[in-house]
């Protein structure tokens, strides 16, 4: 269906025919090249599901077990495929169950089009069965939303929805369609993809003068430092980014959403930023003289205390979203635009350079971190397994070629810190919103988005229990995802904070779990549990080699902490190694 765009003019000129609003929805999906829809039927969206029945050969519908699972799956799909994820849900509770996923997609700039059913237009505002004001509930968590009450609007509005979701800084769009519009017959004049909305500017125009000024600052710098985020991946600018840092010779560190845009083994990749990031990138943020931020938004988990963040540095900020400039960190030079365009312009102007002494500082920091953290995490002396050694062993088996989907908490930080990646769009995690329960459904979608790749979900015992019903989706749709539960019998990250900042008052973090392996077996998913070091590698190999979904529970040390850590309210240079 990738040719949808090129074939559409023909469709647009075909003779008008009478179809229903629901058929128009399906037509739009086909024309937009959608192949997979994640959803759950219900009363107010039944006409669309009825039409979908006639499109089974062109549109694959994955029946999830909860609408939140559906939207997280669509997010996973979008993140690995680079295409817009699509979700169908019914009115009322179906629609409200999407809200967490919408908020997650909004803050992590994930392109989604969600279609919700709505009660008949004449019932709007009457407290009808399963009526809820979806448009107003979702306004703060959507890039755009719209309610359709007349079928004739469907083709144009859906074209706008896909255009808005996928262009510029991507985001979720929700279209609410009343049942009468779904049933209504109208004169369909074909589908015309949208490429322009007069009030919407997907990208700002690149100003050459600012690129030149940025290049001048970079060329005069003695200790330049690049920090990059998901903008590099969303812009499809991985090659342009690599070319830039290689020519300029600048060390580069990533946010957890920027992870995998640059291969882990790249000599200029100096690691992870932020609260649980690497030691060097945090400490040296406050020693660089020019800080070049590419497609990242200076989240508080990255910056720590703003008044202690890179005060000495001149800041160059490349971003497609003008509202990000100066939002948290004042930019000395703003370079607005799609980094796919701005990075090559910058590369052309910067001098070929290397900063061996400066890079050596990062290596020295890595050495300190190795002694204080890596050794204990990757080569522990205690009998108890660590999360880090699980990820490290997984790296050795997958050679960094797997897609890693993580949930939220300690395992997420450990996975992001230690997982190896060779290619982009390999790390799927809930970064901005920190949504527990994200990983299992997102892994399902990630697999549909990248069917030829190994997809491994790494999840904590707490987060897994938030959306474990999606094992049913895995069973029914035969989704070959690998699930690792890192089980420390605690809500580990909260417990870590309670240990460090609340005098070990372990309030409500001692979480009991079911027999995960038996649970998986009940869903027809194979699995096993390991707690002994000698069995770890074999268990991981068995999981990877298994043809089908697999659940591996790994019992890890109960009270292990994730370090380094920038405590809340501290500056990045105050990062603690233990």
């Amino acid at each position: 269906m990738d040719t949808a765009l090129s074939t559409s003019p023909a469709t647009a000129t075909q003779q008008t025919r009478t179809i229903s609003g629901s058929q128009a929805v399906c037509e739009a999906m086909v024309q937009e090249g959608v192949s997979t829809i994640f959803g759950y039927p219900g009363g107010a969206i039944m006409p669309i599901y009825d039409a979908l029945y006639g499109y089974e050969d062109r549109l694959e519908h994955i029946l999830v077990r909860h609408e939140q699972g559906g939207i997280h799956a669509a997010q996973g799909y979008a993140r690995t495929s680079g295409r817009t994820g699509v979700v169908f849900a019914t009115s009322g509770p179906g629609a409200t169950n999407l809200v967490t996923g919408l908020a997650d997609a909004m803050i992590d700039s994930t392109p989604l089009v969600c279609i919700t059913g709505q009660v008949f237009a004449h019932l709007l505002g009457t407290d009808a069965f399963q009526e809820t004001d979806v448009i107003n509930i979702t306004t703060p968590v959507t890039k755009w939303n719209y309610q359709i009450t007349d079928a004739a609007e469907i083709p144009e509005i859906l074209a706008k929805a896909f255009y808005i979701a996928g262009s510029g800084r991507p985001g979720p769009v929700l279209i609410d369609i009343t049942k009468n519009a779904q049933l209504q017959l109208f004169e369909y004049q074909g589908y015309k993809p949208c490429h322009h909305i007069r009030s919407y500017r997907p990208k700002p125009v690149v100003r050459k003068a600012y690129v030149e000024e940025a290049a001048r600052l970079i060329n005069e710098a003695e200790r330049p430092f690049v920090i990059f985020g998901q903008g590099v991946i969303l812009g499809g600018a991985e090659q342009e980014f690599k070319a830039f840092i290689e020519k300029a010779g600048i060390p580069a560190a990533w946010t957890i959403l920027g992870l995998s845009a640059l291969p882990t083994d790249h000599p200029l990749n100096v690691g992870m930023l932020g609260m649980h990031g690497n030691y060097g990138p945090n400490v040296l943020t406050n020693e660089c003289d020019v800080l070049i931020a590419v497609g990242m938004r200076f989240d508080d988990r990255v910056t720590g205390r703003l008044d202690k963040y890179a005060k000495q540095a001149k800041v160059i900020h490349l971003d497609i979203d003008p509202a990000e400039i100066d939002k948290n960190i004042k930019a000395t030079v703003p370079v607005w635009g799609d980094c796919k365009e701005t990075l090559p312009m910058l590369t052309a102007l910067v001098q070929q350079k290397a900063y061996p002494k400066w890079l050596e500082k990062f290596r020295e920091c890595t050495k300190s971190e190795d002694e204080a953290v890596f050794q204990g995490e990757l080569h522990p002396t205690s009998d108890k397994l660590t999360m880090g050694e699980v990820i490290d062993t997984l790296n050795q088996i997958t050679h960094g070629n797997a897609v890693i989907v993580t949930d939220v908490g300690q395992h997420q930080m450990v996975a992001c810190r230690y997982a190896k990646f060779n290619q982009s769009r390999s790390n799927v995690t809930s970064g901005g919103l920190g949504t527990m329960g994200f990983a299992l459904p997102a892994a399902i979608g990630a697999k549909f988005g990248a069917p030829d790749r190994e997809v491994v979900a790494v999840i904590g015992d707490g987060g897994f229990q938030m959306t474990l019903q999606e094992l049913g989706t895995i069973m029914q749709s035969n989704v070959k995802v690998k699930i690792i539960i890192l089980n420390n019998n605690f809500l580990g990250m909260v417990r870590q904070w309670q240990e460090l900042f609340h005098e070990r008052r372990y309030s409500s973090v001692d979480i009991q779990s079911p027999d995960f392996v038996a649970l998986a077996a009940a869903y027809g998913v194979s699995g096993q549990s390991v707690s002994e070091r000698p069995n770890l590698r074999t268990a991981l190999e068995t999981m990877i080699d298994h043809d089908g979904a697999y659940l591996l529970e790994v019992m890890v040390g109960k009270e292990n902490n994730v370090f380094p850590m920038v405590p809340q309210g501290c500056g990045v240079a105050e990062i603690r190694l233990k």
Partner: protein, 195 residues
Amino acid sequence: MKQEYTITVYTENQVGLLNRIAIMFSRRKINIESLNTSPSEVEGIHRFTIVINETEDVVRKLVRQIEKQVDVLKAYFNTNEEIVWQELALYKVPTDEIAEKVKVERLLREHGARAVVIRKDYTIFETSGHREETDKLISVLAPVGLIEFVRSARVAIIKESRGFHEKLKEFEETEPHPSTRENEYLDRGEDVFVM
């Protein structure tokens, strides 16, 4: 330092847009002092006039977020020195009282007011102006028994503005002219490079 800012937003005429804009203020716990929506000089383009009391830094960031909304064409923010504005006020007073105790003619002249309705039981005066001016008339009418009072939101014209017609033409082009995407930040190059 907090001061009064008037935000002018040019938008498409879309259901739900008022909420989308209003929640950007409430999310940041910013109180809207006054809000007016009206048609603009261009057919089909709506104009919001919003007054808030905030620091320039907060207003600047907020206006960028507003302008980012899909259905918003352009947003401006101005201090009171940069705009001409009016508010309309209506005053309902008992006719007999007012006829007896107030020199109505002088009152109307001094406050630029006019009588909109005169009935046996009540009279409605109307005036427009800045907050202080409409307030002043309250203080005169209150002693004789003000039955009802209402004041409209602020409407404002930006002194420097040359209207939206030309700008809209640029917006309607598929590839807009670079100046359409201008911003006060990029257009003040000399300020940007202060290090």
